[in-house]
Amino acid sequence: MIRPGSEAELAEAVRDATGPVSVRGGGTRGLLPEGTPLTTSGLSGIVLHDPAALTLVARAGTPVEEIDAALAKANQRLAFEPMDHRALLGTTGTPTIGGVIAANVSGPRRMQVGAARDHLLGMRFVDGQGVIVKNGGRVMKNVTGYDLARLLAGSRGALGVITEVALKVLPGTETAANLVIRGLDDAAAVRAMSDALGTPFEVSGAAHDPHATGGPRTELRIEGFGASVAYRCRALAERLKAHGPWETETDRDAVRAHWRGLRDVAPFHGQTGDIWRVSVRPSEAAAVVARADATQAFYDWGGGLVWLRTSEGHDLRAKLGRYDGHATLVRATPETHAARQTLQPEPPALQSLTRGLRAKFDPRGILAA
């Protein structure tokens, strides 16, 4: 395992590499490409936290929990609430901020506040030739030059090794509550969630678990100052009464713990089979699930994200056919990953751009991804 202690050492390691390098942060997302392991965990620490500017800069290997703790002291947070993959994938290790950005990992609040990439202000990375590059900066509005930081976010290390990220952070919330309705079928649940997200009441989570204990459970999270949360819960339940009776859950800590579970796809924990993550136009979600031939489904992002558990080796993409979205294989055996492909295959024109970019940023093909 190569474990550089500085950005310069990392650049040197990549420059000196003669074969594929398999880059990882904390190694919590399971599938790692073949190659000499290289971890960014030696590049750790918060470089800057400017609460009044809502800005945090951290080295790539900084544990997410260290960032959460530092932000909490200033009553701030990473608003995109990145999921923790460990329980779902049965992995160990520590999630790092570099890993989160490299995979653009976003939790339930994604549909309200944006994805991880939407909170990215700037980045430093080392390309496949060992060249250190900076892009963006540490300020909230910045259109100086091409937005490579966003191109690298979600690139899973294919274009470079992220060494430092600058993020926009947001104020913490005083309290949280849940509106819950039982017994809706998938299509009705997505309609209810869409109606909720079309109101001005700032719903910050909208999930549907068809297999919840006690029957299908559809829920809406409301966060903010106490009086505002109470008001919005009332107003929202009234606005959505055509969908049925809504119950309010107001135990803040219980609501928060529950959504941490949903963030980490708790309904699938301890279950066998392949796991897929499908990004889909919400109004198509129920139909996509209906033809998926899956064992279990779970809806987040108001229907915009569907988690599917299938039998091993299931050819999900063949079942789904054409729709507005894409499917990623999140958990399976290496054989299934190879047979089904982890990422959604792209149309030829996009594929050629992806290949072209990889060839430019990593001409020797050192960065395994």
Binding site: A52, A115, N135, K141, Y146, L148, L151, T199, L343
Partner: protein, 476 residues
């Protein structure tokens, strides 16, 4: 400012290029009479002008593709143009270029409030996107000052912001998908009505690439439900430090206003004379806007006003009704027009960390003294995006050059304190040669590699973004 000399081979075959384009788009779609192409010789950065070889105004993605394919085959540079409102010269032609304007492509293709999206042709203006969904209770969040005129195509090219991005983000945060035509005519579909990319986030790098990677003809945009209500509060202070500290304290208190706007004394006076908004005569004025139900607004205002009073304000005024709210915004929204009435000015667009505000204002004041040119400051304080307006006399020889030099010094100052050259206007030709202040050669090289992949001949929007010396070996 230096532009590459026009390619004589292209100039010599104008008739042939016009004929091929006319055949593909029809005579109505091509403008080549020098008297008419003059209308396209500049954008809102009017100091620089150059009539193009000709202009094409396609009406469909297919026509855009056909026009680009022809130009690609003929090795003719193409300058994409939305509404021509760029303040950075993003749509400035070269003499050997074809202007490709999307103004005739302005249809709404689809509106879906359940999925909270609208799909439009990109010639549509920013404000008319909101106009198309307003009655349904929705709006499109990015709101650049030029929103009445500016096109979505240009918003995507420049990753435009606006006054309300503290809460709602800028264009890239509200863009879900595009139809884009590459220089060789290839039509790409990227993203859609779903969230996030399955592979590389190409949308992320296309947005803000200043029309150099492709021509975006259609866009899927995120629309948001309109808030129940919004109310601005006005605060006057006798020092930049007090106003800056007030902004910092509001943000640290955990309240996130939708907008925090800042104006300094010269700007306040000009706006007051122009719009009679009833602004106090003081050193620094803040307009803070919050949203929500009446009770929620009151609750947030309570917190904000308590902080505001702690900083010894000259005046505090919370709007009591829509009429007063409109009056508070009136002055700010007419700021550029008001300054234009009394002076020629150059509008800058750097961003700084909010904490550096008092120091930067002080040093801008020093630069103003040493250059002998006045400066009025108006900006989005919540996100540190500054718009210093340097006042000069366009009729006085040497004044424009002096003004540009001073502007460059201010932008260098923004970079020095940890900020950047441009927050929302883009690099264009205006800040092209300052890019080396912010970036090392390898940083620019990495950006240019992306251009190499999307536009290998470097024909799209030439001589923008990258210093000419840096791109010399690549340009056609």
């Amino acid at each position: 400012m230096q532009m590459p000399s026009p390619d004589a081979r292209v100039m010599a075959k104008k008739a042939q290029v016009v004929a091929r384009l006319s055949k593909a788009l029809g005579d109505r779609g091509v403008i080549h009479d020098p008297a008419e192409t003059r209308a396209y010789e500049c954008d809102a950065l009017t100091a620089y002008r150059c009539p193009p070889l000709c202009v094409v105004l396609p009406t469909t993605t297919e026509e855009v593709s056909a026009a680009l394919r022809i130009c690609h085959e003929e090795n003719v540079p193409v300058v994409p143009r939305g509404s021509g409102t760029s303040l950075a010269g993003g749509a400035l032609p070269t003499a050997d270029s074809v202007i490709l304007g999307v103004s005739r492509m302005n249809r709404v293709l689809e509106t879906d409030t359940a999925d909270r999206i609208i799909r439009v042709q990109t010639g549509r203006t920013n404000l008319s996107v909101t106009g198309a969904v307003e009655e349904l209770g929705f709006f499109y969040a990015p709101d650049p000052s030029s929103q009445l005129a500016c096109a979505i195509a240009g918003n995507i090219a420049m990753n435009s912001g606006g006054a309300h991005c503290l809460k709602y983000g800028v264009t890239t945060n509200n863009l879900l998908g595009v139809t884009m035509v590459q220089m060789d005519g290839t039509v790409l579909e990227i993203g859609g009505a779903h969230m996030d990319a399955g592979g590389l986030d190409l949308l992320g790098v296309i947005c803000g690439s200043e029309g150099q990677l492709g021509v975006v003809t259609e866009a899927t945009l995120r629309i948001l439900p309109k808030p129940e209500g919004a109310l601005p509060v006005l605060m006057g202070y006798d020092s930049a430090e007090a106003a800056g500290a007030c902004v910092a304290d509001i943000i640290e208190a955990g309240v996130l206003p939708v907008a925090i706007e800042y104006m300094d004394r010269p700007c306040i006076r000009a706006c007051e004379a122009f719009a009679h908004a009833g602004y106090p005569d003081c050193e620094a004025l803040l307009i803070v806007e919050v949203e929500g139900s009446a009770d929620e607004i009151n609750h947030q205002l309570e917190t904000i006003l308590k902080i505001a009073r702690d900083h010894d304000p000259v005046e505090i005024r919370a709007a009591q009704d829509a009429d007063e709210a409109a009056r508070i915004w009136l002055g700010r929204k007419s700021a550029f027009g008001a300054m234009g009435q009394i002076n020629d000015y150059m509008c800058l667009d750097g961003t700084i960390p909010v904490s550096a505000l008092p120091e930067v204002l002080k040093r801008i004041g020093e630069l103003s003294d040493s250059y002998g040119l006045g400066v009025a400051n108006v900006f989005h304080a919540g996100d540190g995006n500054m718009h210093p307006l340097i006042l000069f006399d366009a009729n006085k020889a040497g004044d424009l050059e002096k003004c540009e030099e001073m502007g460059a010094d201010i932008l260098r100052l923004c970079v020095e304190v940890g900020g950047c050259l441009t927050g929302e206007h883009g690099v264009g030709v205006e800040k092209r040669d300052l890019m080396t202040v912010q970036f090392e050669p390898q940083d620019l090289e990495a950006q240019m590699k992306v251009k190499d992949v999307f536009d290998p001949k470097w024909l799209l929007n030439p001589a923008k973004v990258f210093p000419l010396a840096a791109s010399e070996g690549r340009r056609a």
